[in-house]
Symmetry: C2
Subunit: 356 residues, 2 copies
């Protein structure tokens, strides 16, 4: 329990360079009004002594903490994780944000909060008071949790919201918004299939309560309509689970005029589609083309590997971090919003339709 007395502080640097504490502080923070010559001398001392400012002390005297919190729902994260499926977004999100933070001298802290009404206030409040972060990032499904937004606002912590997001926050000045273009992604997939010559393109949707799920349907429907095709003829509902995907795929394939291609709104339902097609004696991609959403590691090792719409999950957090940091500069422009495009990764599960 002995106290550590070994750290080199600003005092040592000041003594070593023969200047006052304040001058050292000015050099550290790149403030003006220091002669280049003096600045160099101080910097030399800093380098020689290996001095690093203590975040704790900096935060105490009112400066930034250089910390950004990535808030996540504890229960959901744990549930996903226990099931060992679908936590792919955790490392994607985390690493994307961390790297962007590192660029700017910030640090991203992944924080799990209990979003139950009665715990939220105390837990989140404790985290904010204890760490005093310079910003927070909210991910679905809590990006528009009004209670969380309220607490963040009360603690004066600027936030960025990822995904989802209506316009219901009526211009709260603290909010940055970053979304992925789900509709555009669906359009990419659909156009890819149309370009290959497909006309009957089935779509397995996600659960209705997810906005991104309906956006994906919208994109597919719009692109079908643009090509003069009737989208709604080949729509089946799923809920992102493997079982629902299998059911929907079987239903599509059992139709009088079955689709020659199917787009599934996520990877697990695409996997189920492949399995259902195989069970029906169809070869992929010869008899049926399949496109997936998500592009998790799962779909690289199927046979054949799946063509998939890739979501820029990592870019999402990275952008959120960048916008948060930028918004804190003096300028104080109105909080920006960003829409990130999705990309299509073409693999072996798509081909021209069988000759009619």
């Amino acid at each position: 329990m002995a106290r550590r007395r070994l750290a080199v502080t600003i005092k040592h640097v000041a003594a070593d360079a023969g200047v006052s504490l304040q001058t050292v502080s000015r050099v550290i923070n790149n403030e003006p009004n220091v002669r280049p010559e003096m600045r160099e001398r101080v910097q030399a001392s800093i380098d020689r002594l290996g001095y690093v400012p203590s975040i704790a002390a900096q935060r105490m005297s009112g400066s930034k903490s250089y910390l950004i919190l990535a808030l996540n729902d504890r229960e959901r994260t744990i549930a996903d994780w226990r099931a060992r499926q679908g936590t792919d977004w955790v490392d994607q999100m985390l690493l994307g944000g961390m790297l962007e933070c590192a660029e700017h001298g910030y640090r991203l802290i992944f924080e799990l909060v209990d979003t139950h009404e009665d715990h939220l206030e105390r837990e989140l409040g404790a985290a904010l008071a204890a760490l005093q972060p310079d910003g927070a990032i909210l991910t679905p499904p809590h990006s528009d949790n009004q209670e969380i937004l309220r607490i963040l606002t009360r603690h004066h912590v600027p936030y960025a919201r990822i995904g989802a997001l209506g316009d219901e926050d009526g211009g709260s000045p603290a909010g940055v918004r970053v979304s992925m273009d789900d509709e555009g992604g669906a359009r990419l997939a659909t156009r890819h299939l149309i370009d290959l010559g497909h006309r009957r393109i089935g779509f397995i949707s996600g659960p209705a309560e997810y906005r991104l799920a309906s956006w994906r349907v919208d994109g597919w429907r719009a692109e079908m309509a643009a090509a003069g095709l009737d989208g709604d003829a080949w729509l089946e509902a799923g809920d992102f689970s493997y079982a629902s995907g299998a059911r929907a795929a079987r239903a599509l394939l059992a139709r009088a005029a079955p689709p020659s291609a199917i787009i599934a709104s996520n990877d697990q339902m695409a996997l189920a589609t492949i399995e259902a097609a195989r069970a029906a004696g169809l070869d992929i991609p010869r008899d049926l083309s399949v496109v997936s959403f998500d592009n998790t590691p799962l779909v690289r090792f199927t046979t054949p590997p799946l063509t998939a719409v890739d979501q820029p999950i990592a870019e999402t957090t990275a952008t959120a971090v960048r916008l948060l940091i930028e918004a804190q500069r003096e300028g104080a422009t109105p909080p920006p919003a960003a829409l990130l495009p999705m990309t299509l990764v073409t693999r072996g599960s798509t081909a021209p339709p069988p000759a009619a």
Copy 2:
């Protein structure tokens, strides 16, 4: 840039309860020598005002930071992540450690460090000085990076090393060690197959430079020997990649006396084995049983789903956190070590061998 003057501090609590700062501090830290009646009064004020101690201030006056760093190699993590394969350990590790931290009022921070010789000292030093964590966790392949250990020791940060680990650190008092029982895991898999009636059990090893890879071989060999079987007859070398697994599996299946079961040292090689068997016209599990190591989400969605040895990755970090925290209590017992067992998850890829 306006300073925040809204936080409720220990001073407000003291005034509210009509006691000195020190008494409040004692209550916060659960120190003895406070009358129950007084303690209650202070606690009431704390609750009413919603007071939360500031970590920054606590750290400044020499107490704990309640932060534990999970150190990871930046380049390797990024490379794995860009490739979108094999980062499964990131969220497993992270969440296991975070939950254990939360139990004890600590917080886990995932920190990527550049392990290049010339950057390591500066970067890691900066992280330690800035955050002043109460402990650090090292994961493979840097669990025995002497340079990192040296820097941690110099900064008086106790550490826990996960995986790998010879005894080459000659009793440095700061080191806690947590390992997974790779040998035991391999024995479990082998015994499972032997119990099913298999006699010719092939093994696809990992790269020789990974100690865990050779431990897995050892376990398989030992269990084979215990059953009076010659292990080395069916050993093929792989390097954890899909391609190497395919090559090894083809070699095993092309033998005069091909194995009736194959254990692959990781999931990707197991996937390759399934594909190779299918290409050779074999049905799994009727003609060939396959067991995998790792148990990532990948192997749940293959057909058939893979029987796999599950690694307690999350428990690994959780245990490390627990041991680190325990080691800091007054007792100061010699640093402990833990060996975590693996478990076998039986799915559809194993069955009795075909009747001879």
